[in-house]
Symmetry: D3
């Protein structure tokens, strides 16, 4: 029954990578808390780099500096 | 003053259906908890089927199998 | 498969009222979008009135004025 | 280490305005709670006006009436 | 820089189990998307069983029936 | 109409500090985006340090080392 929300910047995450995240998180919740995979929900949000701030700065600017 | 967030898969939800969800949730909170509709906020997120996992699998794959 | 999060202030919501919210939201998603109730998840967060702001003010203060 | 999520309607918010929100929120958390800006995360969600309800109505309709 | 929110029912999750979830999710994001563990944030919410609904019913009732 | 959610660790945040966050965020949204304070909602979540992970580690452990 767990609900997991993963937020990452929108920078070319592939359908295969999203699947790996879903598989991995669902397995982790089974292993650690014995949660039923059948009702484990995972939602991935991809956020534009202009809309994500870290250290008071947009990720867009971090990327421009090569970070 | 309630805040409600509804997440559904992005599969052709119409503006009219969104309006029905907003009207329905606002009325429910008035009926059950006597919350003031004027300050009830409802936000609907539509999530790509690749980004939604259930039972360790992307909804995209569920749909391909006709589920 | 929908996920719904309802946030209200923590002011004596009973177990029965929570049940009514869960039943009502689940039925609404079935009616409007034909979503399967079996996999509809509803999570209710009760938030202390000190932690909820509206109009730049804590709800605690609204309540003291009888609003 | 704080995490802040700002949801606003998608109505032409510029990259500069997003930056101002990120700078402002990060500074506020430093000032009020002495939180380290280096690990303060801000995520801005822009929500379509059809998907945002207030007072039981879509923001799209509010805007049409000039509100 | 990812942000992950894990919601589970409040049913005796130990500090060690929470640590395993944090370690596991952080490693998964490193493995799948090469995300820097140093800035990966994980927040675990434990939700009372009265406040979690599935299939239109509180988890409290599921548990009473032994599910 | 904006909705802002602030998550910080539960480490003795006072009612006055919460008020300052609410006042500050509401003013910021007025200044940057001309949002109406009357309908700006701010919700503060205080999260136990065992439930917050950064760099693959619980904040509880960071604090024990004096960080």
């Amino acid at each position: 029954m767990p609900y997991v929300n993963i937020k990452v910047t929108k920078e070319g995450v592939t359908a295969e990578q999203k699947s790996e995240l879903i598989v991995g998180v669902t397995a982790l919740l089974k292993k650690v808390l014995n949660k039923n995979p059948a009702t484990t929900v995972v939602v991935i949000d991809e956020v534009e780099t202009d809309n994500w701030g870290i250290a008071g700065e947009q990720v867009t600017l971090h990327r421009k500096r090569g970070e």
